[in-house]
């Protein structure tokens, strides 16, 4: 049941990316180009997605999900160097290509060499993180 729900919401999420313009790198780069020919329209993607999620979150905070299982953990408010460093690296990559992880997956709907290369390298970046993280954990056992 949970997997079926996740599949359906994944499809809806992808259509949201497509209809909003987030799935087109040139639109994303136009949104990020605030000091150039700025296209602010993508602000409204977060502007409508966030309040909808917020309503659901605060309506159900601390409660168990409808399909069972534990209640989700509360929001995190801590800040650390890893988060800042990760956000900075992510920002450089996003700014270079205009592609973030969701759109990297929807690009498969119209396959191109560049899109496949981005996705493959993104997965390699994740695996590289796993190796680095395991080494770090090994060097400083908690």
């Amino acid at each position: 049941m949970k997997a079926a729900a996740a599949l359906a919401f994944g499809v809806l999420f992808a259509w949201g990316l497509g209809i909003s313009g987030m799935s087109r790198p040139e639109v994303v780069l136009g949104f990020l180009d605030i000091l150039g020919d700025w296209n602010p329209a993508l602000m409204f993607v977060m502007g409508s997605a966030v309040p909808i999620y917020m309503a659901a979150w605060f309506a159900r905070v601390g409660k168990r999900p409808l399909l069972g299982g534990p209640a989700p953990k509360g929001a995190r408010h801590d800040l650390d160097g890893r988060m800042f460093a990760g956000a900075a690296l992510f920002g450089v990559g996003w700014g270079l290509c205009g592609i973030c992880p969701g759109p990297a997956l929807t690009l498969l709907g119209r396959p191109s060499a560049g899109g496949l290369l981005f996705l493959a390298c993104m997965l390699c970046g994740m695996l590289l993180y796993r190796v680095v993280d395991a080494r770090r954990a090994g060097a400083n056992p908690a």
């Binding site: 359906a8 990316l17 790198p25 990020l32 995190r76 973030c100 969701g102």
Partner: protein
């Protein structure tokens, strides 16, 4: 900016919000694409079934877009191949180190009013905007 140019972002954003909210209400899971993908490629967090299904749904949705709304997807990924390779590496590594991406931090975390996610989102957006600016003034072309 006219009204028609924000209709797509508003509608699409609402669909993204409903998808993330629906996943939260039914399963209690966070619709973070980089986190789900990481779970699928590492397969060791006990969350594999829903994460795999969510990623599969995103790919399936992309294939449907390519079929029924091809203008929503670019014919090419835009940038040069070396830039796409570098960008992909940075996005994948950075999203995991930073604990989330545009969906996990930007939609779900912001919606929870998580200070960590608000700061992360502001940080990666500022860096991405600075990157676009620097590429442009250095004479580089992104397309």
């Amino acid at each position: 900016m006219d009204m028609t140019s924000i209709q797509g972002p508003l509608t699409g954003g609402a669909m993204i919000g409903m998808a993330a909210a629906g996943l939260l209400l039914l399963t209690g899971k966070t619709a973070g694409v980089s986190g789900a993908l990481y779970g699928v490629v590492t397969g060791e967090r006990g969350e594999f079934p829903w994460q795999f299904a969510f990623v599969l749904g995103l790919v399936l949705g992309g294939v449907m877009l390519g079929q029924f709304m091809p203008q929503a997807l670019p014919a090419s990924a835009g940038s040069s191949l070396p830039l796409l390779g570098l960008g992909g590496l940075l996005v994948g590594f950075g999203a995991r180190l930073g604990g989330g991406c545009t969906s996990g931090h930007g939609v779900c975390g912001m919606g929870r009013l998580s200070r960590r996610s608000v700061v992360a989102t502001c940080s990666f957006m500022a860096v991405a905007m600075a990157t676009v600016f620097l590429v442009r003034i250095s004479g580089g072309s992104l397309s």
